[in-house]
């Protein structure tokens, strides 16, 4: 699975960014756990984003309300 993911990542066009590179590294690590490992990685990432967004939203609302 790791080889497949590495091949797929090599196919990605365009310039890379630090965030993209971080994700690529994580993807390669997660591929050791098979497709389910990759799915779990994105699930965990999405939950982190959601928590971050909720926290920021709360802080912004406090700022807005003064």
């Amino acid at each position: 699975m790791r080889e497949v993911i590495e091949r797929l990542l090599q196919r990605i066009p365009g310039e890379s960014t630090p965030e993209l590179e971080r994700m690529k590294r994580k993807l390669i690590e997660a591929s050791e756990g098979g497709p389910q490992g990759i799915e779990m990685l994105f699930q965990s990432e999405s939950e982190t984003f959601m928590k971050e967004a909720q926290g920021l939203c709360q802080r912004l609302l406090e700022k807005i309300e003064g």
């Binding site: 699975m1 797929l8 799915e39």
Partner: protein
């Protein structure tokens, strides 16, 4: 090295409730029997021993067997399941794989010794290899006949041994959906934040405008918001305060210096505090407070005095009322003493009369016993000598009548009643005297308080009521005089305050404008930027997933093309053989809609789309069998569960020939319920074969061989 299946042991597995052991000696094993006789159970036993009910990552690698998800291995009437498969290697080695549930224990033994490797690993198999070249379940062929391109694609990819890529695609799709769901939710959060910013900004703009209107309404110009624009207002406020202090003899308080607009809020707050103190803490206000306090106390004393007087009046009236029937208090006392003496005399008389009466009654009772004729005696009443008994009796009876005490007792009762009335009046007077005493004490206390409030003792000849009235009038006058002074002072403070409040309005305007600027700047804050960054990250990951899916699709297609190209010769050959059409020069799968196409015709070859279900079955079989022929793993057996599906007898015969050929290289275990196919398999080729005939399902509720006796 290649392994073939030599023995299958099952117990509590699918249709086999009871233990069953089957020896598979030949290269072509035909499992025949009617529906529900246990053919599929038998063919699934080696697969279950190798992979279990569901593929688990840690044992099998990433690919689940799609057809076996939620597949129940256990016989529904047993608590445990056990399957043991004996594989025999080409060099005579023995490999035993056992699996049991519910503990899910798997054992692998080579030549009687347990080894640590997994069963698939020992056979050099991957799950992809298993589903594309070892085990062909009924469901796979049926899926190839599906009208839905997606389902056909999935099954052709599986048959090409690329199931792992399909699984990866599924997981990436799931991940994309999860991220898109969160992306939507995060976008909603930002929309909410943006909405709140917008709402708050417009509210704030309205506030600022209202304040501007007020500021301009006070005759101030926009200049007041410039760095030094408010200085004249500061100076006016300070001057107003200084004038006030000078006029009223107050010390000018120290106020923090205003160096710029940032010092204005503190200046206004300090000034407000000072003005409040000047208003509330002046000697006049303190004097006013004292006078109000004095007024309240005097009013309380007047009220107490009035209450006291009222009570005194009530007591006097009561006294008068009590003494009315008895004269003066002294007369009442004397009358009581006299009545008591009279009562004592009466009591003595009644006592004396009572003794005499008793004596006469005793005498009469004696003479009533004396006979009439013996009357030679003196009469005890009249002292006459020699009287008759009758005379004595008559005189004694008359004496008893005369000595009657009733009138005396009646008189005594009357006197006692009068005495009781007078004593009650006396007691009431005593009670009133006690009350008077208390009132006297209260009056004294009142006098003391009033003296204290006046600051000088009230002389006995002075009227307390009058003194209090004079004090109240004096206090009222004092308050009246202070009112004018305080109003003038209040007006002066109000003047300073009015100046200050202009500045207060400017401060408020400053503050609200600053708040508006803060709100406008929220999108530039690190939190908002972090929010955008989070959104960007999720967009990036979705884009990454889309790219991966796109790449995977290409990868899958390339791999499929490569695989099909590798197997092309075998597939074409098998397809032609299965259909008996030499003119079908080529068969391929069009990746656009995953339709099967063939080129037919000897003279002018034409591309034909394959719709016929028999032909589609032939394509699926050709692909699987080509993979099986090419496979280089160590599983030297092929399991085909009812592969004929919709093939007619002629096609069955051709398939039987192909399988007999394959059995030269690999052990072929094939199940079928149709007798024509069984016969075709029995007749095909020269390879040695074995037929396992299963009995129809009956009340014994366990699969068994035909002719085998029922145990129960």
């Amino acid at each position: 090295m290649s392994y073939r299946i030599e023995r299958i042991e099952v117990e509590g597995f699918r249709g086999f409730r009871k233990r069953k052991e089957l020896k598979l000696g030949e290269n072509l094993v035909i499992v025949s029997g009617p529906q529900r006789s246990g053919k599929s159970s038998l063919l699934n036993a080696p697969v279950w021993a190798l992979v279990g009910s569901e593929a688990e990552k840690k044992e099998l690698g990433p690919v689940p067997i799609r057809e076996r998800v939620r597949w129940i291995a256990r016989n529904l009437e047993t608590d445990s399941t056990r399957v043991k498969i004996l594989f025999r290697g080409s060099q005579g080695e023995e490999l035993v794989v056992g699996r049991s549930d519910p503990k899910g224990k798997v054992t692998v033994e080579r030549d009687g010794r347990e080894i640590k490797k997994g069963p698939l690993e020992v056979l050099g198999l991957t799950l992809d290899g298993l589903v594309s070249s070892v085990f062909l379940p009924q469901e796979v062929i049926r899926a190839a006949l599906s009208l839905e391109p997606k389902k056909r694609q999935a099954i052709f990819i599986q048959l090409a041994g690329l199931e792992n890529l399909s699984t990866l695609e599924g997981c990436l799709e799931n991940a994309r959906k999860i991220l898109e769901d969160k992306e939507k939710k995060i976008a909603e959060l930002r929309k909410h934040v943006d909405g709140r910013i917008g709402g708050q900004v417009s509210l704030q703009k309205r506030r600022v405008k209202e304040l501007w209107d007020k500021v301009l309404g006070l005759g101030l110009s926009e200049e007041v918001l410039s760095p030094d624009g408010a200085r004249p207002l500061v100076e006016q406020s300070l001057k107003g305060l200084a004038d006030f202090c000078s006029k009223y003899g107050e010390k000018m308080p120290s106020i923090p210096e205003v160096r710029g607009p940032e010092d204005l809020p503190q200046f206004v707050n300090e000034m407000r505090g000072i003005l409040f103190r000047l208003e509330a803490e002046s000697p006049e206000t303190r004097r006013q407070r004292d006078l109000y306090d004095r007024k309240r106390k005097i009013e309380a004393l007047i009220s107490d005095l009035e209450e006291l007087e009222e009570k005194k009046q009530k007591i006097n009236a009561s006294k008068e009322e009590i003494l009315k029937p008895h004269g003066k208090e002294e007369e009442l006392k004397i009358a009581i003493q006299e009545l008591e003496k009279t009562l004592e005399g009466l009591d003595r008389e009644i006592e004396r009369g009572g003794k005499y009466l008793k004596m006469v009654e005793e005498a009469l009772s004696y003479f009533e016993t004396v006979p009439q004729g013996l009357a030679q005696m003196e009469c005890p009443v009249c002292r006459k000598a020699k009287v008759s008994v009758a005379h004595v009796r008559e005189h004694l009876a008359s004496e008893i009548e005369k000595a009657g005490l009733e009138p005396l007792r009646n008189q005594r009762q009357e006197i006692e009643k009068t005495l009781k009335g007078k004593k009650a009046a006396q007691e009431a007077l005593i009670h009133l005297a006690e009350q008077e005493k208390k009132l006297e004490a209260m009056s004294k206390e009142l006098l003391e308080k009033a003296s204290e409030l006046r600051g000088r003792e009230i002389a006995p000849n002075e009227s307390l009521g009058l003194v209090l009235k004079n004090m109240a009038q004096a206090t009222e006058k004092g308050l009246e005089e202070l009112k004018g002074i305080l109003e003038a002072r209040g007006r002066a403070i109000q003047g300073v305050r009015a100046q200050l409040e202009k500045l207060g309005l400017v401060v408020e305007l400053h503050r609200e404008k600053k708040r508006l600027a803060e709100l406008d700047e929220i999108p530039q804050t690190p939190q908002y930027k972090a929010f955008i960054e989070t959104e960007d990250k999720i967009h990036m990951q979705i884009a990454l997933l889309k790219e991966l899916l796109k790449g995977l699709e290409q990868e899958k297609m390339e791999a499929f093309r490569q695989r099909f190209a590798d197997l092309k010769e075998e597939v074409n050959d098998l397809y032609r053989r299965l259909l008996g059409r030499e003119d079908f020069s080529e068969v391929w799968i069009d990746e656009k809609d995953w339709e099967v196409k063939t080129r037919a015709g000897d003279r002018q070859p034409t591309v034909i789309q394959v719709f016929n279900v028999g032909d589609m079955t032939a394509v699926a079989l050709a692909l699987f069998l080509a993979s099986a022929m090419r496979a280089n793993h160590q599983a030297g057996f092929v399991l085909l569960d009812d592969p004929i599906q919709s093939l007619d007898e002629e096609h069955e015969r051709r398939l039987a020939e192909i399988l007999a050929d394959l059995a030269q290289k690999r052990q072929v275990i094939v199940s079928c319920s149709r007798s024509s196919f069984v016969e075709a398999l029995e007749d095909a080729g020269t390879v040695k074969r074995q037929v396992i005939r299963l009995a129809p399902w009956d009340e014994s509720r366990t699969c068994r061989l035909q002719g085998e006796e029922r145990e129960d």
